[in-house]
Point group: C2
Protein backbone atom coordinates (compact mmCIF):
# COMPACT_ATOMS: atom_id res chain seq x y z
CA UNK A 1 0.00 0.00 0.00
CA UNK A 2 1.24 3.45 -0.89
CA UNK A 3 0.49 6.04 1.76
CA UNK A 4 -0.66 9.48 0.70
CA UNK A 5 0.59 12.29 2.91
CA UNK A 6 -1.25 15.60 2.67
CA UNK A 7 0.50 18.68 3.97
CA UNK A 8 1.35 22.25 2.93
CA UNK A 9 3.98 21.87 0.20
CA UNK A 10 6.33 24.73 1.08
CA UNK A 11 7.19 24.00 4.70
CA UNK A 12 8.40 21.26 7.03
CA UNK A 13 5.85 22.21 9.67
CA UNK A 14 3.91 19.44 11.38
CA UNK A 15 4.14 17.29 8.28
CA UNK A 16 7.82 16.79 8.98
CA UNK A 17 7.20 14.53 11.99
CA UNK A 18 5.24 12.24 9.66
CA UNK A 19 7.81 12.43 6.85
CA UNK A 20 10.60 11.44 9.23
CA UNK A 21 8.65 8.38 10.40
CA UNK A 22 7.78 7.32 6.86
CA UNK A 23 11.38 7.81 5.71
CA UNK A 24 12.91 5.92 8.64
CA UNK A 25 10.46 3.08 8.02
CA UNK A 26 11.30 3.03 4.32
CA UNK A 27 7.57 3.20 3.67
CA UNK A 28 6.13 3.77 0.24
CA UNK A 29 4.46 7.20 0.25
CA UNK A 30 3.69 10.19 -1.88
CA UNK A 31 3.77 13.75 -0.57
CA UNK A 32 0.64 14.67 -2.48
CA UNK A 33 0.51 18.44 -2.19
CA UNK A 34 4.07 18.78 -3.52
CA UNK A 35 3.04 17.19 -6.80
CA UNK A 36 1.34 18.81 -9.76
CA UNK A 37 -2.23 19.82 -8.88
CA UNK A 38 -1.40 18.59 -5.39
CA UNK A 39 -2.88 21.55 -3.52
CA UNK A 40 -6.24 21.19 -5.21
CA UNK A 41 -6.23 17.48 -4.39
CA UNK A 42 -5.55 18.33 -0.75
CA UNK A 43 -8.43 20.81 -0.68
CA UNK A 44 -10.72 18.31 -2.33
CA UNK A 45 -9.87 15.76 0.38
CA UNK A 46 -10.58 18.25 3.15
CA UNK A 47 -14.01 19.06 1.79
CA UNK A 48 -14.80 15.65 0.36
CA UNK A 49 -15.03 13.55 3.50
CA UNK A 50 -18.46 14.48 4.82
CA UNK A 51 -18.45 12.04 7.76
CA UNK A 52 -14.85 12.26 8.93
CA UNK A 53 -13.17 15.33 7.42
CA UNK A 54 -9.73 16.35 8.73
CA UNK A 55 -9.70 19.74 10.45
CA UNK A 56 -6.33 20.67 8.99
CA UNK A 57 -3.21 19.16 7.38
CA UNK A 58 -1.30 17.01 7.96
CA UNK A 59 -3.46 14.00 7.26
CA UNK A 60 -2.58 10.60 5.92
CA UNK A 61 -4.52 8.40 3.57
CA UNK A 62 -3.80 4.76 4.35
CA UNK A 63 -5.99 2.61 2.15
CA UNK A 64 -9.53 3.63 3.02
CA UNK A 65 -8.53 5.35 6.25
CA UNK A 66 -7.98 9.11 6.38
CA UNK A 67 -6.18 9.98 9.61
CA UNK A 68 -5.64 13.52 10.89
CA UNK A 69 -3.62 15.10 13.72
CA UNK A 70 0.14 14.56 13.74
CA UNK A 71 0.34 12.52 16.95
CA UNK A 72 -2.61 10.37 15.87
CA UNK A 73 -0.93 9.59 12.54
CA UNK A 74 2.25 8.62 14.37
CA UNK A 75 0.24 6.43 16.74
CA UNK A 76 -1.05 4.60 13.67
CA UNK A 77 2.29 4.40 11.83
CA UNK A 78 4.27 3.51 14.93
CA UNK A 79 2.46 0.21 15.40
CA UNK A 80 2.72 -0.76 11.77
CA UNK A 81 6.37 0.00 11.18
CA UNK A 82 8.11 -0.99 14.38
CA UNK A 83 8.48 2.62 15.50
CA UNK A 84 6.69 2.10 18.81
CA UNK A 85 6.75 -0.51 21.56
CA UNK A 86 4.47 -3.50 21.10
CA UNK A 87 2.77 -3.43 24.52
CA UNK A 88 -0.24 -1.24 25.25
CA UNK A 89 1.62 0.45 28.11
CA UNK A 90 4.56 1.19 25.80
CA UNK A 91 2.33 2.55 23.06
CA UNK A 92 0.52 4.86 25.47
CA UNK A 93 3.81 6.08 26.92
CA UNK A 94 5.34 6.93 23.56
CA UNK A 95 2.12 8.63 22.47
CA UNK A 96 2.09 10.61 25.71
CA UNK A 97 5.62 11.84 24.98
CA UNK A 98 4.61 12.79 21.45
CA UNK A 99 1.67 14.81 22.76
CA UNK A 100 3.96 16.61 25.19
CA UNK A 101 6.32 17.33 22.33
CA UNK A 102 3.36 18.65 20.28
CA UNK A 103 2.69 21.15 23.07
CA UNK A 104 6.30 22.32 22.82
CA UNK A 105 5.98 22.66 19.03
CA UNK A 106 2.91 24.85 19.46
CA UNK A 107 4.71 27.03 21.99
CA UNK A 108 7.65 27.34 19.58
CA UNK A 109 5.17 28.52 16.95
CA UNK A 110 3.62 31.00 19.37
CA UNK A 111 6.97 32.72 19.93
CA UNK A 112 6.41 34.47 16.60
CA UNK A 113 2.60 34.39 16.73
CA UNK A 114 1.55 35.19 20.30
CA UNK A 115 -1.55 37.07 19.15
CA UNK A 116 -2.84 34.17 17.12
CA UNK A 117 -2.14 32.32 13.90
CA UNK A 118 -4.16 34.57 11.60
CA UNK A 119 -2.20 37.82 12.06
CA UNK A 120 1.20 38.45 10.46
CA UNK A 121 4.40 38.31 12.46
CA UNK A 122 5.05 41.91 11.46
CA UNK A 123 1.89 42.91 13.33
CA UNK A 124 3.00 41.30 16.59
CA UNK A 125 6.73 41.92 16.89
CA UNK A 126 6.70 43.39 20.39
CA UNK A 127 4.58 40.66 22.00
CA UNK A 128 6.61 38.10 20.02
CA UNK A 129 9.78 39.34 21.66
CA UNK A 130 8.25 39.06 25.13
CA UNK A 131 6.83 35.63 24.46
CA UNK A 132 10.18 34.43 23.08
CA UNK A 133 12.03 35.63 26.18
CA UNK A 134 9.56 33.74 28.33
CA UNK A 135 9.84 30.67 26.09
CA UNK A 136 13.60 30.50 26.56
CA UNK A 137 13.58 31.45 30.20
CA UNK A 138 10.85 29.07 31.38
CA UNK A 139 9.48 26.75 28.76
CA UNK A 140 12.48 25.38 26.87
CA UNK A 141 14.28 24.42 30.10
CA UNK A 142 11.11 22.80 31.40
CA UNK A 143 10.33 20.78 28.26
CA UNK A 144 13.83 19.85 27.16
CA UNK A 145 14.90 19.27 30.75
CA UNK A 146 12.04 16.79 30.99
CA UNK A 147 13.01 14.91 27.84
CA UNK A 148 16.66 14.92 28.90
CA UNK A 149 15.71 13.30 32.22
CA UNK A 150 13.53 10.68 30.53
CA UNK A 151 16.32 9.89 28.11
CA UNK A 152 18.95 9.65 30.81
CA UNK A 153 16.83 7.42 33.03
CA UNK A 154 16.37 5.00 30.12
CA UNK A 155 20.04 4.74 29.28
CA UNK A 156 20.56 7.75 27.03
CA UNK A 157 20.39 6.08 23.60
CA UNK A 158 16.75 6.49 22.63
CA UNK A 159 13.73 7.58 24.64
CA UNK A 160 12.49 4.08 25.44
CA UNK A 161 15.92 2.47 25.60
CA UNK A 162 17.89 0.85 22.83
CA UNK A 163 15.21 0.89 20.12
CA UNK A 164 14.32 3.99 18.17
CA UNK A 165 10.68 5.14 18.22
CA UNK A 166 8.90 7.92 16.35
CA UNK A 167 9.39 10.21 19.38
CA UNK A 168 13.14 10.07 18.87
CA UNK A 169 12.69 11.26 15.30
CA UNK A 170 10.52 14.10 16.54
CA UNK A 171 13.08 15.06 19.18
CA UNK A 172 15.71 15.21 16.45
CA UNK A 173 13.44 17.62 14.57
CA UNK A 174 12.97 19.79 17.67
CA UNK A 175 16.73 20.15 18.08
CA UNK A 176 17.05 20.96 14.36
CA UNK A 177 14.26 23.51 14.55
CA UNK A 178 15.53 25.29 17.63
CA UNK A 179 19.03 25.44 16.11
CA UNK A 180 17.61 26.99 12.96
CA UNK A 181 15.30 29.50 14.64
CA UNK A 182 17.47 30.49 17.61
CA UNK A 183 21.11 29.61 16.81
CA UNK A 184 22.61 31.79 19.56
CA UNK A 185 20.16 30.88 22.28
CA UNK A 186 20.35 27.20 21.40
CA UNK A 187 24.14 27.20 21.39
CA UNK A 188 24.09 28.54 24.94
CA UNK A 189 21.51 26.01 26.00
CA UNK A 190 22.88 22.81 24.48
CA UNK A 191 25.33 22.04 27.32
CA UNK A 192 22.22 21.51 29.50
CA UNK A 193 20.98 18.66 27.31
CA UNK A 194 23.93 16.42 26.39
CA UNK A 195 21.83 13.28 25.98
CA UNK A 196 19.35 14.97 23.64
CA UNK A 197 22.25 16.20 21.54
CA UNK A 198 23.60 12.65 21.51
CA UNK A 199 20.22 11.38 20.39
CA UNK A 200 20.19 13.98 17.61
CA UNK A 201 23.58 12.70 16.40
CA UNK A 202 22.36 9.11 16.51
CA UNK A 203 19.26 9.93 14.45
CA UNK A 204 21.25 11.86 11.83
CA UNK A 205 23.50 8.85 11.36
CA UNK A 206 20.70 6.41 10.58
CA UNK A 207 20.98 5.44 6.92
CA UNK A 208 17.40 6.19 5.89
CA UNK A 209 17.37 9.52 7.69
CA UNK A 210 20.77 10.45 6.30
CA UNK A 211 19.57 9.73 2.77
CA UNK A 212 16.37 11.68 3.36
CA UNK A 213 18.08 14.76 4.77
CA UNK A 214 20.31 15.08 1.72
CA UNK A 215 17.46 14.50 -0.74
CA UNK A 216 15.14 17.12 -2.20
CA UNK A 217 12.29 15.50 -0.31
CA UNK A 218 13.57 17.39 2.76
CA UNK A 219 12.27 20.95 2.50
CA UNK A 220 14.60 23.63 3.92
CA UNK A 221 13.55 25.57 7.01
CA UNK A 222 12.02 28.93 6.14
CA UNK A 223 9.99 31.78 7.58
CA UNK A 224 6.61 30.30 6.70
CA UNK A 225 7.06 27.30 8.95
CA UNK A 226 6.88 26.67 12.66
CA UNK A 227 10.56 27.27 13.44
CA UNK A 228 11.39 30.68 11.99
CA UNK A 229 14.60 32.61 12.25
CA UNK A 230 14.03 36.25 13.14
CA UNK A 231 17.31 37.80 14.25
CA UNK A 232 15.60 40.09 16.77
CA UNK A 233 14.12 37.08 18.61
CA UNK A 234 17.48 35.37 18.97
CA UNK A 235 19.22 37.67 21.41
Amino acid sequence: MRYELYYWPGIQGRGEYIRLALEEAGADYVDVARGERGMSEMMRMMEGHPGTPPFAPPFLKAGKLVIGQTANILLYLGSRHGLAPKTEAGKLWVHQLQLTLADLVLEAHDTHHPLGPTLYYEDQRAPAKRRTDEFWKERVPKYLGYFERVLKSNGGAYVTGRRLTYVDLSLFQIVEGLRYAFPKRMKNFEPEIPDLIGLHRRVVARPNIKAYLSSDRRIAFNEDGIFRHYKELDS
Copy 2:
Protein backbone atom coordinates in the same frame (compact mmCIF):
# COMPACT_ATOMS: atom_id res chain seq x y z
CA MET B 1 -10.00 -1.38 40.11
CA ARG B 2 -10.22 2.13 41.50
CA TYR B 3 -8.69 4.74 39.21
CA GLU B 4 -6.61 7.52 40.71
CA LEU B 5 -6.96 10.84 38.93
CA TYR B 6 -4.25 13.41 39.60
CA TYR B 7 -5.02 17.02 38.78
CA TRP B 8 -4.82 20.50 40.32
CA PRO B 9 -7.50 20.51 43.00
CA GLY B 10 -8.90 24.03 42.58
CA ILE B 11 -9.86 24.09 38.90
CA GLN B 12 -11.77 22.17 36.25
CA GLY B 13 -9.01 22.70 33.70
CA ARG B 14 -7.91 19.76 31.59
CA GLY B 15 -8.82 17.36 34.38
CA GLU B 16 -12.48 18.04 33.68
CA TYR B 17 -12.47 16.11 30.39
CA ILE B 18 -11.30 13.07 32.35
CA ARG B 19 -13.75 13.60 35.20
CA LEU B 20 -16.67 13.80 32.76
CA ALA B 21 -15.65 10.50 31.15
CA LEU B 22 -15.20 8.75 34.50
CA GLU B 23 -18.53 10.09 35.76
CA GLU B 24 -20.47 9.16 32.63
CA ALA B 25 -18.96 5.66 32.81
CA GLY B 26 -19.87 5.34 36.48
CA ALA B 27 -16.24 4.36 37.07
CA ASP B 28 -14.77 4.00 40.52
CA TYR B 29 -12.20 6.77 40.94
CA VAL B 30 -10.65 9.08 43.45
CA ASP B 31 -9.67 12.67 42.65
CA VAL B 32 -6.45 12.37 44.60
CA ALA B 33 -5.22 15.96 44.84
CA ARG B 34 -8.56 17.12 46.27
CA GLY B 35 -8.10 14.86 49.28
CA GLU B 36 -6.08 15.49 52.40
CA ARG B 37 -2.34 15.54 51.60
CA GLY B 38 -3.41 15.10 47.97
CA MET B 39 -1.11 17.74 46.53
CA SER B 40 1.97 16.20 48.07
CA GLU B 41 0.92 12.78 46.74
CA MET B 42 0.59 14.30 43.28
CA MET B 43 4.05 15.85 43.49
CA ARG B 44 5.48 12.59 44.73
CA MET B 45 3.99 10.78 41.71
CA MET B 46 5.45 13.32 39.30
CA GLU B 47 8.94 12.92 40.68
CA GLY B 48 8.69 9.27 41.61
CA HIS B 49 8.37 7.63 38.20
CA PRO B 50 11.93 7.73 36.95
CA GLY B 51 11.27 5.79 33.73
CA THR B 52 7.91 7.20 32.66
CA PRO B 53 7.17 10.40 34.61
CA PRO B 54 4.20 12.53 33.52
CA PHE B 55 5.19 16.00 32.28
CA ALA B 56 2.19 17.64 33.92
CA PRO B 57 -1.25 16.88 35.36
CA PRO B 58 -3.70 15.47 34.54
CA PHE B 59 -2.51 11.90 34.79
CA LEU B 60 -4.36 8.74 35.66
CA LYS B 61 -3.18 5.78 37.63
CA ALA B 62 -4.90 2.63 36.39
CA GLY B 63 -3.46 -0.34 38.22
CA LYS B 64 0.23 -0.26 37.42
CA LEU B 65 -0.16 2.12 34.48
CA VAL B 66 0.39 5.84 34.88
CA ILE B 67 -1.02 7.64 31.84
CA GLY B 68 -0.48 11.32 31.06
CA GLN B 69 -1.90 13.80 28.53
CA THR B 70 -5.65 14.36 28.51
CA ALA B 71 -6.38 12.93 25.05
CA ASN B 72 -4.20 9.90 25.77
CA ILE B 73 -6.08 9.18 29.00
CA LEU B 74 -9.38 9.42 27.12
CA LEU B 75 -8.03 7.09 24.42
CA TYR B 76 -7.39 4.57 27.19
CA LEU B 77 -10.68 5.09 29.05
CA GLY B 78 -12.78 5.24 25.89
CA SER B 79 -11.97 1.66 24.93
CA ARG B 80 -12.57 0.31 28.40
CA HIS B 81 -15.87 2.01 29.18
CA GLY B 82 -17.77 2.01 25.90
CA LEU B 83 -17.05 5.69 25.31
CA ALA B 84 -15.42 5.15 21.91
CA PRO B 85 -16.17 3.06 18.82
CA LYS B 86 -14.86 -0.50 18.81
CA THR B 87 -13.14 -0.44 15.40
CA GLU B 88 -9.61 0.88 14.93
CA ALA B 89 -10.85 3.41 12.37
CA GLY B 90 -13.49 4.63 14.81
CA LYS B 91 -11.03 4.89 17.68
CA LEU B 92 -8.58 6.90 15.57
CA TRP B 93 -11.34 9.21 14.36
CA VAL B 94 -12.64 9.99 17.84
CA HIS B 95 -9.08 10.51 19.09
CA GLN B 96 -8.41 12.83 16.16
CA LEU B 97 -11.45 14.91 17.11
CA GLN B 98 -10.28 15.03 20.73
CA LEU B 99 -6.86 16.29 19.64
CA THR B 100 -8.49 19.00 17.53
CA LEU B 101 -10.59 19.96 20.52
CA ALA B 102 -7.43 20.07 22.66
CA ASP B 103 -6.01 22.63 20.23
CA LEU B 104 -9.13 24.74 20.71
CA VAL B 105 -8.81 24.45 24.51
CA LEU B 106 -5.23 25.71 24.31
CA GLU B 107 -6.27 28.64 22.14
CA ALA B 108 -9.04 29.46 24.64
CA HIS B 109 -6.38 29.50 27.35
CA ASP B 110 -4.14 31.73 25.26
CA THR B 111 -6.83 34.40 25.01
CA HIS B 112 -5.87 35.44 28.54
CA HIS B 113 -2.23 34.29 28.32
CA PRO B 114 -0.92 35.25 24.87
CA LEU B 115 2.57 35.97 26.21
CA GLY B 116 2.91 32.57 27.79
CA PRO B 117 1.64 30.58 30.74
CA THR B 118 4.17 31.81 33.28
CA LEU B 119 3.26 35.52 33.31
CA TYR B 120 0.16 36.88 35.07
CA TYR B 121 -2.91 37.94 33.12
CA GLU B 122 -2.51 41.40 34.62
CA ASP B 123 0.83 41.70 32.82
CA GLN B 124 -0.64 40.94 29.41
CA ARG B 125 -4.01 42.65 29.27
CA ALA B 126 -3.52 44.51 26.00
CA PRO B 127 -2.23 41.52 23.99
CA ALA B 128 -4.95 39.40 25.65
CA LYS B 129 -7.59 41.72 24.25
CA ARG B 130 -6.13 41.48 20.75
CA ARG B 131 -5.78 37.73 20.91
CA THR B 132 -9.36 37.38 22.20
CA ASP B 133 -10.72 39.47 19.34
CA GLU B 134 -8.87 37.25 16.87
CA PHE B 135 -10.06 34.13 18.69
CA TRP B 136 -13.69 35.11 18.27
CA LYS B 137 -13.34 36.52 14.79
CA GLU B 138 -11.39 33.64 13.25
CA ARG B 139 -10.78 30.68 15.50
CA VAL B 140 -14.09 29.98 17.25
CA PRO B 141 -16.03 30.05 13.95
CA LYS B 142 -13.43 27.76 12.37
CA TYR B 143 -13.33 25.19 15.19
CA LEU B 144 -16.98 25.18 16.23
CA GLY B 145 -18.10 25.42 12.61
CA TYR B 146 -16.07 22.29 11.97
CA PHE B 147 -17.60 20.34 14.87
CA GLU B 148 -21.07 21.56 13.88
CA ARG B 149 -20.56 20.20 10.35
CA VAL B 150 -19.26 16.86 11.63
CA LEU B 151 -22.22 16.57 13.98
CA LYS B 152 -24.76 17.49 11.32
CA SER B 153 -23.32 15.07 8.77
CA ASN B 154 -23.63 12.23 11.30
CA GLY B 155 -27.24 12.92 12.18
CA GLY B 156 -26.91 15.62 14.84
CA ALA B 157 -27.31 13.52 18.00
CA TYR B 158 -23.72 12.72 18.93
CA VAL B 159 -20.48 13.17 17.03
CA THR B 160 -20.28 9.60 15.74
CA GLY B 161 -24.03 9.09 15.43
CA ARG B 162 -26.44 7.73 18.00
CA ARG B 163 -23.92 6.62 20.62
CA LEU B 164 -22.20 9.03 22.95
CA THR B 165 -18.37 9.08 23.01
CA TYR B 166 -15.91 10.95 25.18
CA VAL B 167 -15.65 13.67 22.52
CA ASP B 168 -19.30 14.55 23.09
CA LEU B 169 -18.60 15.05 26.78
CA SER B 170 -15.67 17.29 25.89
CA LEU B 171 -17.79 19.33 23.47
CA PHE B 172 -20.33 19.84 26.24
CA GLN B 173 -17.49 21.20 28.38
CA ILE B 174 -16.35 23.56 25.60
CA VAL B 175 -19.84 25.05 25.33
CA GLU B 176 -20.00 25.39 29.13
CA GLY B 177 -16.58 27.03 29.23
CA LEU B 178 -17.24 29.52 26.45
CA ARG B 179 -20.56 30.45 28.05
CA TYR B 180 -18.81 31.08 31.35
CA ALA B 181 -15.85 33.02 29.98
CA PHE B 182 -17.58 34.98 27.24
CA PRO B 183 -21.34 35.09 27.96
CA LYS B 184 -22.08 37.96 25.57
CA ARG B 185 -19.95 36.77 22.69
CA MET B 186 -21.21 33.22 23.08
CA LYS B 187 -24.84 34.31 23.16
CA ASN B 188 -24.35 36.05 19.83
CA PHE B 189 -22.57 33.05 18.39
CA GLU B 190 -24.85 30.21 19.49
CA PRO B 191 -27.36 30.58 16.62
CA GLU B 192 -24.49 29.48 14.32
CA ILE B 193 -24.15 26.12 16.07
CA PRO B 194 -27.65 24.72 16.75
CA ASP B 195 -26.55 21.09 16.66
CA LEU B 196 -23.73 21.65 19.17
CA ILE B 197 -26.20 23.36 21.47
CA GLY B 198 -28.53 20.39 21.04
CA LEU B 199 -25.67 18.04 21.91
CA HIS B 200 -24.95 20.12 25.02
CA ARG B 201 -28.58 19.71 26.11
CA ARG B 202 -28.44 15.98 25.47
CA VAL B 203 -25.28 15.58 27.58
CA VAL B 204 -26.69 17.62 30.48
CA ALA B 205 -29.73 15.36 30.57
CA ARG B 206 -27.76 12.13 30.95
CA PRO B 207 -28.40 10.78 34.46
CA ASN B 208 -24.76 10.33 35.50
CA ILE B 209 -23.72 13.73 34.17
CA LYS B 210 -26.75 15.40 35.74
CA ALA B 211 -25.88 13.89 39.12
CA TYR B 212 -22.23 14.88 38.72
CA LEU B 213 -22.95 18.49 37.79
CA SER B 214 -25.06 19.01 40.89
CA SER B 215 -22.55 17.29 43.18
CA ASP B 216 -19.63 18.91 44.96
CA ARG B 217 -17.30 16.82 42.80
CA ARG B 218 -17.92 19.41 40.05
CA ILE B 219 -15.65 22.36 40.77
CA ALA B 220 -17.09 25.76 39.78
CA PHE B 221 -15.46 27.74 36.97
CA ASN B 222 -13.05 30.36 38.26
CA GLU B 223 -10.26 32.68 37.18
CA ASP B 224 -7.46 30.18 37.80
CA GLY B 225 -8.72 27.77 35.16
CA ILE B 226 -8.66 27.64 31.37
CA PHE B 227 -11.99 29.38 30.77
CA ARG B 228 -11.82 32.65 32.69
CA HIS B 229 -14.33 35.44 32.77
CA TYR B 230 -12.72 38.84 32.37
CA LYS B 231 -15.37 41.41 31.53
CA GLU B 232 -13.04 43.42 29.31
CA LEU B 233 -12.44 40.42 27.07
CA ASP B 234 -16.15 39.80 26.54
CA SER B 235 -17.11 42.84 24.47
